[in-house]
């Protein structure tokens, strides 16, 4: 029996919020085991003073002492999960600083999360799976080239993508909006295989990722079924040819966003989610619809406009749409509105999520929204850097799956 991945929990408030068992359950479902690093009262007094962050909550002092015990090697772990109450400013400061401290001084993969009493194991599952994947599959994640003939499928919330690769080359692609999960997957697979000129029987290994990964993976008998945080990171640095050293991967998706701080292709710190749909690709879809253009035309349209002329804050998709309608009603141009929508989404991601990871260049944007030039431009402006958008960026999960799946090809 495989040993569970030991995930050290540094937290304040989950038990009194009634969600500790949800954290435990999410870890258990992906072969992980939550534990609380064992420290003594005297360690708390000493380490809290040494760390130098003068917080008042004793449980936050305990979290600091536990982080130091992990970094200094007094307690062994495979990964770290930091969790504090949503809306607690004191806890947010500690969460931020601990994540930064652990990332700087150790190789532990870290995920941080702010919870409410409504947090469920389902919302934590992908994050926990990424932690256990990084801990368990370091050798697989170190793979830099694709060998043989492999298929990757990304069953996303908005779109389903497939890629066929042969000896480090992409030879077939398939893409369509996700409707019925299995049907969409089958159709993109057929498209990719046809484009590649190969049959399903010739494929040597298959990988799946995305929301529908388990369902699709089971149906097509995938060798690799893996969450999108590690797969997309790998796909991003592979396509951008930045497999060594640091990088930051941003994926603004249809339903949630991912910001991942990567070192040598392996995620170190990552966040997933988003405060509201107003900060997701879905809002840009709605904007395009309201402006009467295809989503593919939104990027060029926004590049002709000036977002600063339209007040817009898409913190919430409903109010964001209201701002959009108001702007059009008061005579704003479609170009300016398109640019404002892109800026608003980029700003939300920047404010809500990118503060949770350590931004290191190059910054790589992937996913379907990376093809919207106005969004990439707005993100570049906010981060004051040139954003890298690699070729096939909209197929990132499928490429990452095909690449990693080649690690499952059995030698003849």
């Amino acid at each position: 029996m495989t040993q569970p991945v030991r995930i050290a929990q540094l937290s304040c408030g989950p038990e009194y919020s009634g969600i500790q068992h949800e954290i435990d359950e999410a870890a258990r479902q992906v072969g992980g085991e939550i534990f609380y690093p064992d420290v003594a009262l005297k360690d708390i007094r000493r380490d809290f003073a040494k760390f130098g962050l003068d917080v008042k909550s004793p449980d936050l002092k305990l979290a600091i002492a536990r982080a130091m015990a992990l970094v200094e090697g007094r307690v062994e772990a495979d990964a770290v999960f930091i969790a504090t109450c949503f809306r607690c400013a004191e806890a947010a400061i500690v969460r931020n600083e601990l994540r930064h401290y652990i990332n700087e001084h150790s190789r532990f993969p870290v995920v941080s999360y702010s919870f409410t009493e409504r947090t469920t194991s389902g919302t934590l599952l992908t994050r926990m799976e990424a932690l256990t994947t990084i801990a368990r599959r370091r050798a697989l994640l170190a793979r830099e080239t694709q060998n043989g003939l492999t298929l990757g499928v990304d069953s996303g919330s908005a779109t389903t993508k497939a890629i066929v690769m042969r000896d480090n080359q992409i030879i077939g692609t398939g893409w369509q909006p996700t409707t019925e999960v299995l049907k969409s997957a089958q159709e993109v697979i057929v498209h990719a295989l046809t484009e590649a000129g190969v049959t399903r029987n010739e494929i040597q290994a298959v990988g799946t990722t995305g929301y529908g990964r388990f369902l699709v993976g089971k149906e097509i008998k995938a060798d690799l079924v893996q969450e999108e945080l590690t797969v997309n990171s790998k796909g991003a640095v592979y396509l951008a040819d930045r497999q060594h050293g640091p990088a930051t991967v941003i994926d603004i998706g249809g339903m949630d966003n991912k910001a991942i701080s990567v070192m040598d292709g392996i995620p170190g710190v990552f966040t997933m989610g988003g405060i509201c749909a107003g900060a997701s690709g879905r809002f840009l879809e709605m904007t395009a619809k309201r402006l009467g253009v295809e989503i593919t035309e939104l990027g060029p349209l926004s590049m002709k406009g000036f977002g600063g002329r339209v007040p817009m804050n898409s913190y919430c998709i409903v109010f964001g749409t209201q701002s959009l309608v108001n702007a059009l009603a008061t005579g704003s141009t479609r170009e300016d509105v398109a640019a404002a929508a892109c800026h608003s989404v980029a700003e939300q991601v920047f404010e809500q999520q990118l503060q949770e990871v350590d931004i290191k260049e190059p910054v790589i944007m992937v996913g379907g929204t990376s093809l919207i030039e106005g969004l990439v431009f707005a993100m570049g402006e906010l981060l004051q850097t040139k954003i890298v958008v690699p070729p096939y960026s909209q197929y990132i999960g499928a490429v990452g799956s095909a690449l990693l799946a080649s690690g499952f090809i059995k030698d003849d």
Binding site: C12, Y16, S17, G18, D38, E90
Partner: protein, 148 residues
């Protein structure tokens, strides 16, 4: 017999003293151990569910963190029921400890709002202060009995 709320509510020593003088301590009977192997310093002895933070809405609004409201679902009723209170400020972790500073602020505020006998002391830093500390608590509890 008087119902006495103690702060920190996890202090077994304080709870024991209140009981020895014939009163009812209102506290959470959680021992603070030398080694901490639980999620928090005063991990709850009860099975807290996501319903508790909702019950805590009686004492703290929805924008207050869930951890505070979950704690208030335990301590709020005790504060409402108490007829006297002992508050020890800046207590050593080993004496008794409540993990969330924001909850602690709210608890002390709510106690201050009540017109009940209240003893508020700083945790002693040496033996002399320790002797005076115990004597003060003893006097308070004795007079409390008399007042009753």
């Amino acid at each position: 017999m008087v119902k006495v709320f103690i702060y920190p509510a996890t202090s077994l020593i304080l709870s024991d003293m209140v009981a020895r003088f014939g009163h009812t301590p209102l506290s959470s009977a959680t021992a603070i151990r030398e080694r901490i192997q639980t999620a928090g310093l005063e991990s709850p002895p009860l099975q807290i569910t996501p319903e508790e933070p909702k019950k805590g809405l009686k004492w703290a609004a929805v924008e207050v963190p869930a951890g505070v409201r979950g704690r208030m679902s335990l301590y709020g009723p005790m504060i409402e029921a108490c007829e006297a209170a002992i508050i020890i400020n800046d207590a050593d972790l080993a004496f008794g400890c409540m993990g969330c500073a924001r909850t602690n602020e709210l608890i002390k505020f709510l106690i201050h709002q009540k017109t009940i006998p209240r003893l508020e002391l700083n945790y002693p830093k040496n033996e002399d202060e320790g002797v005076k500390f115990v004597a003060a608590i003893k006097r308070f509890l004795t007079e409390l009995r008399g007042a009753k």
